[in-house]
Symmetry: C2
Subunit: 221 residues, 2 copies
């Protein structure tokens, strides 16, 4: 591996380990020693990338706004569904993502680092505004307020899903969230064409991974 | 004050102080000393009621399932709205209630004490089932799943409301939650009659308090 690629790989290993440890222990009880042990890197390597536990937490939070895997769709509402469903698919599999929610829900960590919620809210508001301009939303819908409501509800569903059954049914619960709020915000014609099946996130993500591998293979050949 | 009434009053003072401290510091960082200071009671009085920080947390959680102030209504959907709106009115004013959410969202405290979520879910499921039997819900609605979704979304709205603006607009946000999910679950006829105005919780709660005072006055005369 080239030197730069190795540095990126090491940084990623450390962030993933930090995500696991913050997720399990919370910010306060997490230790650099535990993160070092999980990452399997040297103390020097860790401190080269992150000077402190605070910087590690900031690093984890900065990874939280991700729409990787979501493809452009004719229906902007479908793109909105895809963002939430892909995240519901990835989150139980990627401690880095669930750690960001844990850190945001922790009052002390939140005071120190802020949260990724405002960034998510403005991203979703943008999606809803595009859907509205395309005539997919009911005329009375306030896209900014619905964005706040959606990010709030999504977060609550994730927190209770983890508490009630370890997060196993997150995709099913988020699909129900969309199915329940869509009739209150979308015009009937736009509604009918939407795919909100619980496995939507899995399918979209798998297609993205297959495409990524194909591209990597053709770049290597 | 009679001896028993004084003991109940002291217990309440301690629980409210514990609620404040858990709410601000989280379970881990909360100390008995801080709770004692806020409650303004002696160490002996505190340990008479609660043997440990664990027992204080259990005491706080056991206060969290409250439907005080909600009156029977002809529409069972209106009762469901009233439960969520009265709680949205009371929660920013009663640290005991918001502390229960903080403790439930804290993974470590949750592992030790459980949460009040299952009790809330089964209460709301009962309300929705009654509404369905009365023909107020759409036939496809699964009352148990909607109860889980609603308690999840309510919790997420509370957490983000606290994070984004200190909880000031909780009633407005919960009103929007009802307005957004009701079209997906209620029959149009039931919908039209509902009062989901942001000040619904305030009005219901004030009427309850006025009635309580009247009863106390007539009992004393």
């Amino acid at each position: 591996m080239a030197k730069q690629a190795r540095a990126i790989h090491t940084r990623r290993l450390i962030l993933e380990a930090a995500g696991e440890v913050f997720d399990e222990y919370g910010y306060e009880s997490a230790t650099i020693a535990e993160i070092l042990g999980r990452a399997g890197v040297t103390k020097g390597a860790l401190y080269f990338h992150f000077a402190s536990k605070e910087e590690l937490a900031r690093g984890v939070l900065s990874e939280a706004l991700t729409t990787e895997g979501v493809m452009p769709q004719e229906s902007r509402l479908q793109e909105w569904v895809d963002v939430g469903m892909v995240l519901a698919h990835r989150l139980p599999r990627e401690p880095l993502l669930s750690a960001a929610i844990r850190l945001s829900a922790d009052r002390k960590a939140r005071d120190l680092f802020g949260t990724s919620w405002p960034a998510w809210i403005s991203f979703i508001a943008g999606q809803l505004t595009a859907a509205k301009e395309q005539g997919e939303l009911l005329p009375h819908v306030d896209t900014e307020r619905i964005a706040v409501l959606f990010v709030s509800a999504w977060t609550g569903v994730e927190i209770l899903s983890t508490a009630l059954d370890g997060g196993d049914s997150l995709e099913e619960r988020i699909a129900l969230l969309y199915d329940t709020i869509l009739p209150g915000v979308a015009v009937p014609g736009a509604l009918r064409a939407l795919d909100t099946a619980p496995d939507r996130g899995t399918r979209v993500w798998d297609a993205h991974c297959a495409q990524r591998e194909e591209e990597a293979a053709s770049a290597a050949s």
